[in-house]
């Protein structure tokens, strides 16, 4: 029981820490810091409350493999979305608001000049 109380206090402390770190306005690093603290908290719960530390390794494999698949899914989806240039991903697709409604045309990355005027997503001319 003493161990559970210790883990519980650690989890509460880390909750306070994550709120505190968020109030520092770290900008781009805020998300990374929040996720690292969340990962530490989740690991504490899994290892001690869920007894992964002292039980058979096969249970750990089941959890780690599923986490790995989620990580692969998130990583490659984000890589895809971040490396698309804008005409392929019109604002309209997300918001339902036609592209013309936006005051300025979004900056077009690595697309030939002149294509920017086309409001609809057209396949790159080759």
């Amino acid at each position: 029981m003493k161990r559970y109380v210790f883990i519980w206090l650690a989890l509460l402390t880390l909750t306070g820490a994550t709120v505190g770190v968020a109030s520092l306005n770290l900008g781009d690093w805020a998300l990374a810091a929040a996720l690292i603290i969340a990962a530490i908290k989740a690991t504490l719960v899994a290892l001690f409350f869920m007894h992964l530390l002292e039980q058979r390794a096969s249970y750990r494999v089941a959890l780690v493999v599923s986490l790995l698949f989620v990580a692969v899914l998130v990583t490659f989806t984000v890589l895809d979305v971040r490396t698309r240039f804008v005409p392929v991903m019109p604002q309209e697709a997300y918001t339902g608001v036609p592209e013309e409604a936006f005051p300025e045309a979004p900056p077009v990355r690595s697309a030939p000049a002149g294509q920017q005027t086309g409001a609809k997503a057209e396949p790159e001319a080759r």
């Binding site: 029981m1 519980w8 989890l11 909750t15 709120v19 989740a42 249970y59 089941a62």
Partner: protein
Amino acid sequence: MSAEGGPRVGVGVAEAGAHASRVAHHFQDFEQQRHAARFGMWLFLGTEVLLFGGLFVAYAIYRVAYGDAFHEASCLLDLKLGTTNTVVLITSSFAVAAAVHYAHHDQKWPTVVSLLLTIGMGLAFLGIKSVEYAHKFQEGALPGKYYHFEKVQEPGASMFFTVYFFLTGLHAIHVIIGLSVLSWLAWRAIRGDFKGGYDLPVELGGLYWHLVDIVWIFLFPLLYLA
């Protein structure tokens, strides 16, 4: 590990023999049956991680597309209520860990009390969540075309609330399922089912509740502190 470290893999031969009646015919012994049950539960928890993984990907995509709108919208969630809910859920996780510990050591009433405390905190979590939901409904911070929230009008803000409602909604469904399981366990504990080394249902129900807690541990910073 200390002697009070909770449920163990190694159950003595004599103890296993004492529970021969509880061993299904396709298992060699009690221990093998326990292992199969635990492993099955962990595989199920793995699929739960994948289920939430899909929504986390949706969050990632829209956050990449609308970083500013996400930041603005997340600032308008009630951080106090969110933090309170995090503390409530972490404490309930602690209570269910205690319940598993007591069940393993044949302490009937401490098990029951811990389970009831867990259920109480789960209900408190849902109560706080519904206060937040009611507030969002009133303000018009709703998913998709129902969005008419005046404070954030940037494109993409409605997507934040769509993702918010889907993530917290799916999580709330899990809380409700977890509460049903815990109530059933509490009733069985009161009836005196868990004695003489038979505590596996409490342990597996506890695992589910811990997973619900872990999901919230990630939801809280992503939604409230983004």
